[in-house]
Symmetry: D2
Subunit: 326 residues, 4 copies
């Protein structure tokens, strides 16, 4: 079995994924997509930046759009349990030889910027401005009615190494795909917050961000979004779905923002808080791991991803015959 035993006593306590910042080339177009079409709420904005949150979130932002000359990702952010855990994180990354810096981030308290084992920029913080609840202000719901950010999925040039690294800081594997011939991991889903994933990895040119996912109430909200996008000029931005993944059992839709950043709309997770939860293994040769049902994914879905600012992705060593539409 290629996955490590879950690390139940990590060096610091990460609560959950928190937010991501996208570099976008046309701030107005991106805002229109995320606000008018997906239905995220603006919590602050100026000429350079738009801050957004989903309907059940009380933290100030789960997505930050920054005007940029190039479409890129500025880092994946995670919330830790308290300020003491932030210091533990700082010391652990420093001791492991990762670059560490305390950075200023609006609406957040102390924020640690560092990198993972592939140089992927990641940030940790505990304190963020808290906003009043809006989950019962139903007049504000629109678009796909996004409730919360759910997970990141990254291309990784070495999934075994990625899993080992994130396992060391407490991410537990819930499901994984193994390449039976080599015994190596093709993909893995890992969590902190008690769902199928906060962070997943797929073998490929990386590090790159494959997608950021938002949780919605029911499959009908996803169908509503398809109807809306198909009749408001966004039909070409629907990349894949709806369908159901074998892995995670998610009812999914993948859409592309105006810069090509991929967003998954998602429901039908399951609860993973048990420390003795057995990870589910899938064989790379089983097409239902990808698509329990639904049309095959297009080639773009297997190949395209968002680069991290300043990070040059590298080819994965592991090659496989991806299962794509002919």
């Amino acid at each position: 079995m290629p996955i490590p035993a879950p690390n139940l006593f990590p060096p610091f306590n990460i609560i959950r994924l928190s937010h991501v910042a996208f570099g976008v080339r046309d701030l107005a177009a991106s805002k229109a997509f995320y606000v008018d079409t997906l239905g995220l709420q603006v919590t602050d904005e100026d000429d350079e930046t738009v801050y957004l949150r989903a309907m059940e979130e009380r933290g100030h932002h789960c997505l930050v759009l920054r005007r940029s000359d190039t479409a890129d990702v500025r880092g994946l952010s995670f919330k830790v349990f308290d300020e003491a855990e932030l210091d533990k994180a700082h010391d652990w990354f420093a001791a492991e030889g990762h670059p560490v810096a305390w950075v200023e981030r609006p609406y957040q308290g102390r924020t640690l910027a560092t990198q993972d084992c592939f140089g992927m920029p990641i940030e940790f913080y505990f304190r963020m401005d808290r906003l009043p609840p809006i989950h019962q202000k139903y007049a504000l719901y629109k678009g796909v009615k996004p409730l919360r950010i759910d997970h990141f999925n990254c291309f990784s040039p070495d999934v075994d190494r990625a899993v080992a690294f994130y396992n060391a800081i407490g991410f537990r594997v819930t499901e994984y795909t193994e390449d039976e011939e080599t015994g190596k991991l093709w993909a893995a889903w890992t969590h902190r917050k008690g769902g199928v994933h906060d962070l997943a990895f797929t073998n490929g040119l990386g590090p790159r961000l494959h997608h950021t996912a938002f949780w919605v109430p029911t499959p009908l909200n996803i169908i509503d979004l398809c109807d809306l996008m198909a009749t408001t000029g966004y039909v070409g931005n629907i990349e894949r779905g709806p369908g159901r993944h074998g892995i995670s059992n998610a009812f999914f839709l993948y859409v592309l923002d105006p810069d090509g950043h991929r967003i998954e709309i998602y429901c039908s997770d399951y609860q993973t808080v048990d420390p003795d939860l057995e990870a589910i293994r899938w064989d790379l040769k089983d097409p239902q791991r990808q698509t329990l049902w639904g049309a095959p994914a297009p080639r773009s879905w297997f190949e395209n991803g968002s680069v991290f600012a300043g990070v040059t992705p590298v080819e994965a060593a592991l090659k496989a015959t991806p299962i794509v539409a002919p």
Copy 2:
């Protein structure tokens, strides 16, 4: 405009499509598909035949499965307004030179068997055994929870001619696809019962039956069916969807029975009882007429259909570049 004016005073009064009989090669396998997976109710059966109805129907059957050496279709059946209309139908078809015969059909009253302009077998009747309602026996609902048969869709070698013929007997066009270059019809949807269609025609090798459709309560029932088929050995029988058609605005799924007879599961129709309802025109070059959103249809969906017993289909004169997955 290529479609004829609606014929509001037809020679006899057809109420609605009623039922279809399929020749099936493995009666047990077909019954398992239609009963255990789709959820139709058996109203009678013996070693040679299974009669089925959907949940809100009170007529004895909407689908008849007949053990057969070859997979085929035995005719499309329609209900007329009363016995007098049946006689008018008989006389009209006879006068127009179509073969006519009064045939015995179990559980039905007098039944007229004839052919349309392409030799496609069609039948008319007024009286069928009536059964007690089961639409509120919710313990019986299963599978996709089919409520009623909704329509037939046929390949036709000449859609203009098909529309002219069926218009003459009162079928009104609700939507149609025109080949702009030739000014000819590519496809047409026609109704009697007040929905988008009882009978539709698509240009192609014909006459053949493209699909038979069943109406279900909500899109979630269609998603439930995908989940069920994907995990009970029927994943290969899901041919296309779910998605939404531009034409008819239907939320659809296409599945294949064990003999390849195609079944559409369908919801989101609209009401068409107004005699002055304007037909909606679509351009053959508009891919959203087919797929408002969703993956492109596979080639099989464009090419395969069920033959009618004893009828040799002919090539369509009109050729076009079908919009298929590469």
Copy 3:
């Protein structure tokens, strides 16, 4: 059996219910309710009048709001098959001794104003301005996403007499409630357009309009409306439901507009086009006829209705113990 045999050859051909005009005391408040909360679309408006249609309708209006000193109803309108049927209607009502008048109605062709057997104002027309389809303009959908007007339900002082009258002009009974002790009708549902009802009658002080119903896609739209109304100041306007009626099998919600006009939001009908459809009989003593499940209806639902302008309702002769919440 207390209901008459269906009159399959009525003196003129009514296609369906069409629209209703409400007298409202605060036009802005009423518009806010119907447009912003329910989601109807404004097709025209001035200081005195607002015209509205639902999402799949192509006729100019299904609901007309008229500024008024008193909350009332100006008449129930029906569409006939063609102009000739309008003349037949005129002649039939005149011959039967009902007052008849040709009246001007904006956006409509010739309109016949008359009264039913209780003096209830009803109107007939064939031609109404036709508007482009909007059912695929998904960005316009909001509120409960109303698709079409579905039916009227009226208090009647003598349901047997109401059924006899409307049966004479072609309305067919689909379901009815019989008072077993007296053998008289307590309530009846009658249709023209092929669903459970265009027009229903309930025993009580009448004629008054009990409610006007709109058809929506799924039960989830009804739950969405409850969420919206409960958090935008309209919680007191939710009168009853959601629940399911035994009769008609409708999943329902009843809400009150600012003047107390009652609107039913409705889905889960069934098809009734068969001329030999057997009406379903319910016993007045069966509480599930009213409420297959759900909380009992409040007293207001049994007692309150909208008066017709200029018509004084009269007490019903038939008394029964209504089944209300204690």
Copy 4:
């Protein structure tokens, strides 16, 4: 503010609620209710006991039915993080003067039986037999399609004291109702697993179990259950709903098993893993805290609960005017 600060460093680590055992007087009737109607899966059974799990659970049981002369509850069970936490729990309860015992429970490892501050029997364990996943065996889904046990809700004679006790062992308050006049808690919702609650308390004769809740995929599953129960002899077992609570934002239905044990069917939770999540305060005078929309709860819902075997409930000191149907 009457609620204590969250205890982020409790003496032992409880992961989540786990299961409950009901004493039932007719084991076959109870099994029919939970299996055929609700859709739970039998994992083991004999003449005296039935073990059940929900569709996404891998632990052996979330509900145990035991043949009994009286309807009662045998204790509420919780899973801890590992065996070491179980020992810590033992020592903490012993030190606090609660009775402690290691008990044998089939399919479980070491199990600690103790009592809360009111003598309510509670149990803790870490290890339970693990079963293969069935969440993708869609042919097994039936009834309301229950996914997992979600929470317990208990009547407590002193909610402030209950909250203080459970806060001491790490349960964090997410929402609460305050009696403004006395400044005392009327009700509180507390969690361990990252949702709105694992355990809630309502002021009243206690300790008694008000209800046990199961999580389902969408509101439509709840409507399906209403339809099923209303037509299979269980209409009288639907006690309240469907509706939405203000508190927790839950779309709910309350049903009664054959012994009167109350089951809530539930969806629309939100995520509460943030340690700095602010609890939401509701005023006892606000009727929307209880019922954001929907019919008022019946008196039975306010008064009835299941007793714990061997525990005599006591009156609550705090009295208030419950908001019931007139």
